[in-house]
Amino acid sequence: MKVKQIAIFLENKSGRLADISHTLAENAINIRALSLADTADFGILRLVVNDTNKAQQVLKENGFTVGITEVLVVEVPDKPGALDCILQVVRKAGLNVEYMYAFTKKSGESGMLLFRFDDQDAAVEVFQKAGCRLLSDDEVHAL
């Protein structure tokens, strides 16, 4: 029920993001979803890609600090109120979101919400009880 995400440490200097995209491009890795957290001093790039292991390997070889973490991916219909519906579930259960980002599979079809909670296992339970559809690692990477 958990999906592997790659996180990469980025120093605040120009061109670093392009270095990552270039490394991924050269190795024919496809990016499914992406989010960049920025602070005054550094950034963290989070990616869900089609081949996590290969992406990790090539990024490491190119000198990046890479971490693999797990996120929950919830599929929702691509229509107004869908995100709110999920976040109400999250609020009711008292779950604490560390971060989240989203992408749509195909406009008008379905949206994917990627969550990182402080307690991932509790969140899985909550979503399952609420009848939300959680995507597996394979499903996401096969998208």
């Binding site: 995400q5 963290i44 989070r46 000198g63 971490g67």
Partner: protein, 433 residues
């Protein structure tokens, strides 16, 4: 003005006779009372009786900060604790401070030398002395305080920090003399400029600055911005504290060493062989009169040379030029001694942090700023911003706790800190000193 005409203008011959008499007594006393010194002398095959001329001092072994550390805290005191009336300490290489003690007579002698120092800077009774040196374990605050009181000046024991209040008090109390680190003096000048205060409206006349290296360019800047005369003083806690050497306001060219109490030597920093008079090398001091904590041939690691020329002020003591270099990697940041190894220790203490770090020192405006760059390894990397920020904060707090100075932590990508062959370059000092 010369405070102690009798001693400060002693003809060289009489001065050297006095130094020899005091040196013999000091060496004999240290030999008799401190097992550690006795052992070192025995190992070097020298006895106090071998000291027959001032040049014989070279027979004696050196004392280093390492010796002081080994005897932490009171191992090198030559008197029982009942005779010690004051203890000071400075930061050391391993987190353990260097501890120094003073008898009642030491405190009086120190006050006398600080009185001479202030007097040489043109300070006199009736002056209002704004003492912004730190009070506490650091020797600066109290050392200067006793000298100013002994001189008959009114001391404001304001210590460091809270610059706005410092300026307010300068205005309200009519401070005529500023004692501080030179960088803090510039900080005060900046704060005055920010508040739109014209220094010419203050009563400040002279500043007596020490505890960190500073350049002639910085002197010009301080003098011009604060509209005062800026005087350089030199001292280190291992030898006494402030008051070991002082500039005279007449010349402002080199600092007169209080040679009746401290015997200076200049040695080759590599071979430790004594260098001919006037040549530059490592400055070494032997205390001639200190009771509680004398040092024999203490290696300061400061690079200097002796200027034997007679000074127009009338003092016969040799001078040393402004000190701008050291033989080791010690940094002096806002008056605090910082060894890169101390910062390293903090970094190594945090689990998972790579031993690759770099310390960058900048002078921003007038204050020294330290940035510690740490490489982010996989072990400490997290996909959550707050974890990395927590790590920065932890390093920052621990460095502050250990050294008493604030720094910023910059997390950098792996392999971005330059690896050098052999000794790693840990410090980039961008200050223009």
């Amino acid at each position: 003005m010369i405070w102690n005409e009798e001693y400060e203008t002693l003809p060289r011959e009489a001065l050297e006779a006095l130094q020899l008499k005091r040196l013999k007594a000091q060496v004999a006393r240290v030999h008799a009372t401190v097992a550690y010194y006795r052992k070192k002398m025995e190992d070097a095959g020298v006895t106090p009786d071998d000291i027959q001329t001032l040049a014989d001092i070279r027979l004696l072994p050196f004392t280093t900060k390492e010796d002081l550390r080994k005897n932490y805290p009171f191992g090198l005191f030559t008197v029982p604790m009942e005779k010690v009336v004051r203890i000071h300490a400075s930061s050391g290489t391993t987190g353990k401070p260097t501890v120094v003690g003073y008898t009642k007579r030491d405190i009086e002698m120190w006050a006398e030398l600080m009185t001479r120092t202030l007097s040489a800077a043109g300070v006199h009774s009736g002056d209002i002395v704004h003492n912004a040196y730190g009070y506490g374990l650091f020797t600066g605050g109290l050392g200067a305080h006793y000298g100013a009181e002994n001189l008959g000046a009114a001391v404001i024991p304001i210590s460091g920090g809270n610059t706005k209040r410092q300026i307010q008090i300068m205005q309200d109390f009519g401070s005529t003399v500023l004692l501080s680190t030179p960088s803090y003096a510039l900080n005060i000048a900046d704060a005055m400029a920010d508040q739109g205060i014209d220094p010419a409206t203050l009563k400040l006349r002279v500043g007596v600055f020490g505890a960190e290296p500073w350049s002639e360019a910085m002197r010009e800047e301080i003098e011009q911005r604060l509209k005062i005369k800026a005087i350089d003083i030199y001292g280190l806690s291992e030898v006494m504290g402030p008051g070991v050497a002082a500039e005279c306001i007449e010349e402002q060219k080199g600092l007169h060493i209080m040679e009746d109490h401290f015997l200076p030597e200049i040695v080759d920093p590599d071979t430790f062989a004594p260098l001919p008079l006037g040549e530059a090398g490592e400055l070494v001091f032997t205390t001639l009169t200190k009771e509680a904590f004398p040092v024999i041939r203490y290696r300061t690691k400061d690079i200097s040379r002796l200027i034997p020329d007679v000074c127009s002020c009338g003092r016969t003591f040799y001078r040393i030029p402004k000190i701008t270099g050291r033989t080791d990697d010690m940094l002096i940041i806002r008056g605090v001694n910082v060894f890169p190894s101390q910062i390293e220790e903090v970094i190594m203490g945090v689990e998972g942090v790579e031993p690759h770090y770099q310390i960058v020192v900048e002078r921003e405006g007038s204050l020294d700023k330290i940035e510690v760059q740490v490489e982010v390894s996989e072990a400490i990397f997290s996909d959550e911003v707050k974890s990395l920020e927590k790590l920065s904060k932890k390093l920052q707090t621990e460095i502050k706790d250990l050294l008493g100075i604030s720094c910023t932590i910059k997390l950098v990508e792996p392999k971005t800190i330059q690896r050098s062959e052999g000794k790693a370059k840990r410090v980039i000092d961008n200050r223009k000193i």
